[in-house]
C-alpha cells in the first residue's frame, strides 16, 4: 500500500513541477465550454438544450489530451521497468497512476463544470447533477483511457491511434452522463442514469488496472 501512496504522491509532485501539462487540459475545457455560447448566440432555450452534451464532450476531450503522457515518460526513463519488477503487483501501481491522472485531469473538470454550466443558463439542480455525473464519469474516462494508453505505448503515431481506440469506448459514459443532466432538466430525475454511471465506474475500476498492467508488460517486452 505504501507503494500505491508513493506513486500517487510522485505523480502529483511531478505535475506540480510541470504545471503547464495540467493547465493545458483544464484550460482547453474552459475554452471549449466558453466558445459554444458565443457561437450559438444568447438563445437560452437552445443553450439549455445543448449544455449537457457540450460540457460532457468538452470534458471527454480534455481528459483525453493528457492520456498520451500517462505512461510515456515512465516508459522512456525506465521507471516502468522498475514498476514491472517491483514485488508489488503492477496492477496496484497502475491503479495509483490512474488515480493520479484522475486527480490531475478529472477532478479539476468536476470542480469547474458548475461554473461553466452557468453560461448555459442551467438551473441549480441541473448544475448539481452535472457535477455529480462528471464526478462519477471522469474516473471512467481515466480508467478506460489507461487501457488505451497502455496498448498504444511505444507505437509510432500512438496518439492518433489512442483517440480512435478510446473515444468509442467513452460513448456509454457520455450517453449516461449527458443523459443524466437532460433527464434532470426535463423533470424525469437523474437517479437511473447516475446508477448506471456508478456501475460503469465499478466495472472499469476492477478491469482497467489489470488490463492496463497486462498491456504494459507486452509493451515492455520489446
Amino acid at each position: 500500500m505504501s507503494a500505491f501512496v508513493a506513486i500517487v504522491k510522485r505523480d502529483l509532485t511531478l505535475a506540480l513541477r510541470r504545471k503547464n501539462e495540467v493547465i493545458t487540459s483544464v484550460f482547453f475545457f474552459v475554452v471549449v465550454a466558453a466558445l459554444f455560447p458565443l457561437g450559438i448566440g444568447p438563445e437560452m432555450n437552445t443553450l439549455r438544450l445543448v449544455a449537457p452534451g457540450i460540457l460532457w464532450v468538452g470534458a471527454l476531450l480534455a481528459s483525453m489530451l493528457s492520456l498520451g503522457r500517462m505512461f510515456a515518460s515512465d516508459y522512456a526513463d525506465g521507471s516502468l521497468e522498475q514498476m514491472a519488477l517491483s514485488p508489488n503487483s503492477l496492477s496496484l501501481l497502475v491503479a495509483a497512476k490512474i488515480l493520479a491522472h484522475w486527480l490531475l485531469s478529472g477532478l479539476p473538470l468536476v470542480l469547474l463544470a458548475p461554473i461553466l454550466g452557468l453560461q448555459f443558463d442551467l438551473s441549480t439542480d441541473a448544475l448539481w447533477i452535472l457535477t455529480l455525473s462528471l464526478l462519477l464519469g471522469t474516473p471512467v474516462l481515466s480508467l478506460i483511457g489507461a487501457v488505451g494508453a497502455a496498448l498504444t505505448l511505444g507505437v509510432r503515431g500512438g496518439d492518433v491511434l489512442l483517440s480512435l481506440l478510446v473515444l468509442p469506448l467513452y460513448v456509454p459514459a457520455l450517453v449516461f452522463g449527458a443523459g443524466a443532466v437532460q433527464a434532470e432538466i426535463s423533470g424525469l430525475g437523474a437517479s437511473a442514469h447516475l446508477s448506471v454511471l456508478a456501475a460503469l465506474v465499478l466495472v472499469a475500476a476492477v478491469f482497467s488496472p489489470w488490463a492496463s498492467a497486462a498491456s504494459l508488460r507486452i509493451a515492455l517486452e520489446s
Partner: protein
C-alpha cells in the same frame, strides 16, 4: 542460488544465443561478456523477467521464477541502461520513491548517507535534470546501496562513472558479495571484485 539452464533467444528470424547455462551461488559474481549486439542486454532482460522466456529455465532458490515471480522480484535489483530517474525530482525523492516501490521504508538520514557516499552531498535537493551524466548514474546507483535484495543484475554499471565513483561502486559490490549477495554484471572493461568470480562469454 540463482540458476539458469539452456536459455535461448531469437529476435525476428535471428538467433541471438542458445544454450546459455550458469549457476550463481551466494557470494559469487558473474561477469557477462560479449561483443556489441551479441544479446547481453536481451539476456539480462530475460533473466529479470522483463522479456518472455522462450526456452530454458530460470530458478531462484530451487524454485522456478516463472511460477513464483514475486518471491524472485523481492530479492532482485535491476539497473539497466535507463536509469529510472525522474528528471524533475531530486535524487533524494527519486531514492525514496524507488524504495517505496519495492516496499521499503527509507528514513531520511539513511538516504542522505547513501547519497553522500556516492558523492552527491549538497546535491540531494537539486532536480536530477541539472546533474551531469555521471552524477545521474551515481544517483541511480543509490538504489543499490539502500536495497536489501540479494541478487543484483547490473547492465554496464561502470559506464560514465569517474575513477572515484568506480572505486566506490567496486567497494559497494564487494560489500554486497561479502554479505552473501550475488552480482551479475555486464561490462566491457576488466572487473576485479572479491570473492568467487565467474565469467560467461556470450557468442552467437
Amino acid at each position: 542460488m540463482f540458476s539458469v539452464s539452456n536459455l535461448s533467444c531469437t529476435r525476428g528470424d535471428k538467433h541471438l544465443f542458445a544454450g546459455v547455462s550458469f549457476t550463481l551461488a551466494p557470494g559469487q559474481w558473474l561477469h557477462l561478456e560479449g561483443d556489441n549486439g551479441v544479446g547481453k542486454t536481451s539476456l539480462i532482460r530475460i533473466l529479470c523477467g522483463l522479456s518472455a522466456l522462450e526456452q530454458g529455465e530460470i530458478t531462484w532458490k530451487n524454485q522456478s521464477v516463472a511460477q513464483k515471480p514475486d518471491a524472485f522480484r523481492q530479492e532482485l535489483v535491476y539497473l539497466g541502461h535507463q536509469l529510472a530517474l525522474k528528471e524533475d525530482l531530486t535524487p533524494l525523492e527519486n531514492l525514496s520513491v524507488n524504495a517505496a516501490m519495492v516496499g521499503q521504508l527509507l528514513n531520511l538520514s539513511v538516504a542522505m548517507a547513501v547519497l553522500a557516499k556516492l558523492g552527491l552531498r549538497g546535491r540531494e535537493h537539486l532536480p536530477v535534470r541539472v546533474l551531469s551524466q555521471g552524477q545521474k548514474r551515481r544517483a541511480a546507483l543509490a538504489r543499490l546501496l539502500s536495497s536489501r535484495a540479494k541478487l543484483w543484475i547490473l547492465d554496464e554499471p561502470f559506464v560514465a562513472l569517474d575513477l572515484a565513483a568506480q572505486q566506490v561502486l567496486t567497494g559497494v559490490l564487494n560489500a554486497h558479495l561479502h554479505n552473501q549477495g550475488m552480482v551479475l554484471l555486464t561490462s566491457h572493461q576488466a572487473v576485479a571484485l572479491e570473492g568467487v568470480g565467474l565469467s560467461y562469454r556470450l557468442t552467437s
